[in-house]
Amino acid sequence: MTAIGAPTGLTQGSRTKGGIGESTLRPDGVLKVTGEFAYASDMWHEDMLWGQILRSTVAHAEIVSIDTGEALATPGVYAVMTYDDLPTDVRHYGLEIRDTPVLAHGRVRHHGEPVAIVAADHPETARRAAARIKVEYRELPLVTDEATATAPDAVLVHENRSDHHSGHVPHPNIVHRQPIVRGDADAAAGRADVIVEGDYYFGMQDQAFLGPESGLAVPGEDGGVDLYIATQWLHSDLRQIAPVLGLPEDKVRMTLSGVGGAFGGREDLSMQIHACLLALRTGKPVKIVYNRFESFFGHVHRHPARLHYEHGATRDGRLTHVRCRIVLDGGAYASASPAVVGNAASLSVGPYVCEDVDIEALALYSNNPPCGAMRGFGAVQACFAYEAQMDKVAAELGLDPVEFRRINAMEQGTLMPTGQPVDSPAPVAELLRRVKAMPMPPERQWESSEGADVRQLPGGLSNTTHGEGVVRGVGYAVGIKNVGFSEGFDDYSTARVRLEAVGGRPVVTVHTAMAEVGQGGVTVHAQIARTELGVAEVTIRPADTRVGSAGSTSASRQTYVTGGAIKNACELVRERVLETGRRKLGSHHPAWATAELLLEGGKVVTDGGEVLADLVDVLEDEVVEVEEEWRHRPTEPFDPRTGQGDGHVQYSFAAHRAVVEVDTELGLVKVIELACAQDVGKALNPLSVIGQIQGGTVQGLGIAVMEEIVVDPVTAKVRNPSFTDYLLPTILDTPALPVDVLELADDHAPYGLRGVGEAPTLSSTPAVLAAIRDATGLALDRTPVRPEHLTGTA
C-alpha cells in the first residue's frame, strides 16, 4: 500500500488569468483550512512503528558505557541502535563540514545530542524504552564563550580538524574567521570629529516553526527506502543521508511532505537518518515526530553574538570609518556557521557608504547548542548593532537619526566593504523617507468612553496600568541582506515543465524539488507558468528527488532561482511549441514566420494580438516537456585575508519605524505599530509579499522584546525548551503592521524581482530597540530587552 498522506499534485482552477503580479490564492489553501493537508507529522502507514531518540542530558562528556538491554527487552520494542550499529563507515553528516555524528561516538558535545534510537509500536512505548537505556557519562570541561574557547589550555571541541577552514583559523575552536579590510580605517579615524564605540549582545533565537520535525521512512522491496519528510532542501538531505545508509542516492527516494514552517531550522538534518536506519533495520515503516521539547534540541538556532563596533563621523554627518568585531557562537557543530560568518562580515557596515573599514567576524565551536541558519542569517545580528551605533553617532552630532542615515545611505553604484558594487537599485534613503512619512498612530489610543482598554497597554490583560507611567517612543532602522547563496556557491535550481492537451484543454505541469515551507512558492510557480505559457490550468507536482535539485528554500532565493528555472523551462517549452506550430500550421498564415509569437489564453497569438491557433490544435497528441537547470550569475569567494570579492548575487533592503509604549515603572513594553517599507523589485504575488514582510517583521519583534533560548552559563544546558518558557509573540503582543512596497526592478533578476523573505527580519529588531531607547533614555545594548533591563534591576 502507499503511505497515507503522501502528497498529490495541486491543481489550481482557472477562475483568473492568474499570472505574475496578481494576488492569486494559494493552491494548497483549501487543503490547509479543511485540515486535509498532510504535514509530515500526519503521515501514517499500516504496520508503522514509532521512532524515538535518546538525547544527552549533559553538555560535554565522555560516554563511559551504554546499556540498551532493558530497552530492548521492553515489549513492543523492535530495535535499539547506537553508534556501533551504524551500517557503514560514514557516520557523520553536515551541511558544509561533516562533523556531526549520526549518533554520539564516545563523547557528547552539547546538551540534547542524539545518543541512541528506538523503534516501537506505540510512541509512548518508544519513549519509555528510550528512558530505560542506561548511559554513563564522565563530564568534561566546558567551552562556553570566546574566553574558554581560546584559552591556552582550552579543550578542543573537535580534535584533528581537517576541514577547509581549519588551515586559516587562528584557533581550532574557531570554525571560520573572515576579515574584511578596505581603505585605511586608522587614517580615516584621524579625520573623524566624533568617534562612538559600543558593545552589544544578541541573544539566541529559535526558529520555532510550529510543525515539529517529523518524517516517515518506508523500507522498499529493493533494499532502498522512501522518505516522506519536512525539509528545506531535499537534495542536500539526500547527499547526507545516502552514504550513512550505504545506499546509492537513487535508492533513497525522498518526497517533500507538508512542512509546518522552517525559517532556516530545517536546513540541517534532524530525524531523517534516524528514521531511515530504524526502517531498514526493522523492515517496517518508521515515523518519528518530535514534540516541542525535543524540537528545541532537534535543530540549530540563530547564533547568539557579541559585537564590538566603532563608528567615526565628521561634523557634517558623514561616516569616516567603521571598525567592528563580531563573535558568533556556533555551538558544538559547524552547521551553516562558515556562511553565517561570511554574511555577518560582508554586511556588517549596513546599507551605508563607508570607504574605510576594518572588519572581523568569526564563529566559535563551543559546547552550547549548535547554531546555524535562521532567517536573516548573520545579517540580523550585525544590523541590530550597526543601527544602534547609527543612532548613537547621530545623537553625538545632534542630527536627526533618519537624516544622519539619509546622508550616509548607499545607492546604486556604492561599493560594499568587499569592493563589490551594488549594481541594482538600492533605495535606502527612499525607504526611510517612506516609512517616516507614514501617518503616526494616534496618541493615547487605549482611551475609550469606558476607560482604558488594557489590551492596548503594556502589561495587557494583566491589568498593570491604565496609562500611569506609560511613555511613548519612536525608532527607525534600515538593513541590507544578500539574496541567494554566496561566495562562489553553485546556486542552481532545476525545473521540469510539461505542456499537453488534456480533455481538449491545454494543461501545464510544473515539477521541481522546491520545498514549499509556507512561503507560497507553489502559488508563484503556477503564476510564472501561466504568464509564460498562457495556460490557465497549472498543476504543481509534489516536490521530490525524481527531479533535479532546486536548491534550498533559504536565503530569500526560491522565487529568484527556482522561479527563474521555471521561467527558463517555460521559455524552452514555448519555443518547442512554436516550432511545432510553424511546422504544422506555418503555411496557413504568414505571421507564423514573420511575427513575434506569444502564448496567451490557450492560444498562439502575434504580438499584435492576432490569434493564429489554439494550443490544443498545435499540440494534438504531442507532449512537450523540458527539464533544465538554471543559474543566476556566478559569485566569487571572499579573499581570506582582505575579504574582497564579488561574493553576493543580489541585495535587498527594508526599513522599519517602530512606535512603542513602555510602562517605565514595571519595564513592560507594548509595540503599538511596526511599519515597514521594502523594495521587492517586482511583487510576483503582492499578497504573499506582504505576508512575508509582516511575518519577518514580527520575528524581529520577537527577538527585540521576548524571544531567547537561555543557556545556563555554568552547565551549558538549555533552560527553557518549551513554549511556556520561550516566549513567542502572540496576536496580542503584535501591533498593526502597515507595509509600503516599492518595486524597483533589478535588471539581473527574473522579472526584476528581489528576494523578499529576510530583509524585514533585520531592521525590525533595531527599530523596536531604538523606540524603547527613545521612550526610556536607556542605552540598551542587548536584545531581547527584558523588564529588568528597563527597571534597573537586571
Binding site: G29, K32, L210, F263, R292, S688, I731
Partner: protein
C-alpha cells in the same frame, strides 16, 4: 480502556486507549482526523483547538477519558458545522449561540473526496482565511479557525482588540498575524453584509 464520543456529528469509539492518551492523540492517531495539530503538547500554542461540547479547548490538554460521552468538533467538521448553524439562523431559529449550537450538533459530516480541495464547501471563516492570505505554512490554521469561528458565533461584530484577545491562545509563526486579523474582519464583514441583504 474504551472511549465513546461524538466527533463531527458521528458516534465514534476508540479501543485500547491508554490512560495517558490525550483527546488530540485519539483524534489524530485512532480516528484518522489529523487536522488538529500537535505543536507544543502543553496548551501554549492552540494548534490543537477543538470544540468540546461547544467550548474551545486545547485537545492536547484533555485526557481522552474526559471526552467520554461528549461532542467534539474539529477543523474537519467546521464547514458542515457552520453550514448547519447558518441554515438554522436563516430559518429563524433564535436564541443565539446556544440554540444554533444544538442545531449544529445534529448534523453528520459529509465525506470529502478531493485531495486538491476543489469544490469543497467551506465555512465563511475558512474562505476568509484563504482570501485574506492568512494561511502560510498552515500549521496553526486549524486551531485558529476553530477559535475564530467560535468567537464570531458569540461576537459577530468584534473590535480588533476583541479579535486579538479571543485569538491570543493561538500562536502563528509565519504571518505576523496581520492577515489573520484581516481574515477575521473579512468573515465578520461578510456575515453582516449577508445579514443586511
Amino acid at each position: 480502556m474504551r472511549v465513546n464520543l461524538t466527533v463531527n456529528g458521528r458516534p465514534q469509539q476508540a479501543d485500547d486507549v491508554w490512560e495517558g492518551e490525550s483527546l488530540l492523540y485519539v483524534l489524530r492517531e485512532r480516528m484518522g482526523l489529523p487536522g488538529s495539530k500537535n505543536a507544543c503538547e502543553q496548551g501554549e500554542c492552540g494548534s490543537c483547538t477543538v470544540r468540546l461540547d461547544g467550548v474551545p479547548v486545547c485537545s492536547c490538554l484533555v485526557a481522552a477519558g474526559q471526552a467520554e460521552g461528549r461532542e467534539v468538533v474539529t477543523v474537519e467538521g467546521l464547514a458542515e458545522f457552520a453550514r448547519r448553524r447558518a441554515g438554522d439562523t436563516a430559518s429563524g431559529v433564535r436564541g443565539g449561540a446556544d440554540a444554533s449550537l444544538d442545531a449544529a450538533r445534529r448534523w453528520q459530516a459529509g465525506g470529502t473526496d478531493s485531495q486538491t480541495g476543489e469544490n469543497i464547501e467551506l465555512a465563511p471563516v475558512q474562505q476568509a482565511f484563504i482570501d485574506a492570505g492568512a494561511v502560510q505554512c498552515g500549521f496553526c490554521t486549524p486551531g485558529l479557525l476553530v477559535a475564530a469561528d467560535e468567537m464570531l458565533e458569540h461576537n459577530p461584530d468584534p473590535t480588533d482588540e476583541d479579535i486579538r484577545e479571543a485569538l491570543s491562545g493561538n500562536l502563528c509563526r509565519c504571518t505576523g498575524y496581520e492577515k489573520i486579523m484581516d481574515a477575521v474582519r473579512l468573515a465578520a464583514a461578510r456575515r453582516s453584509e449577508g445579514a443586511t441583504t
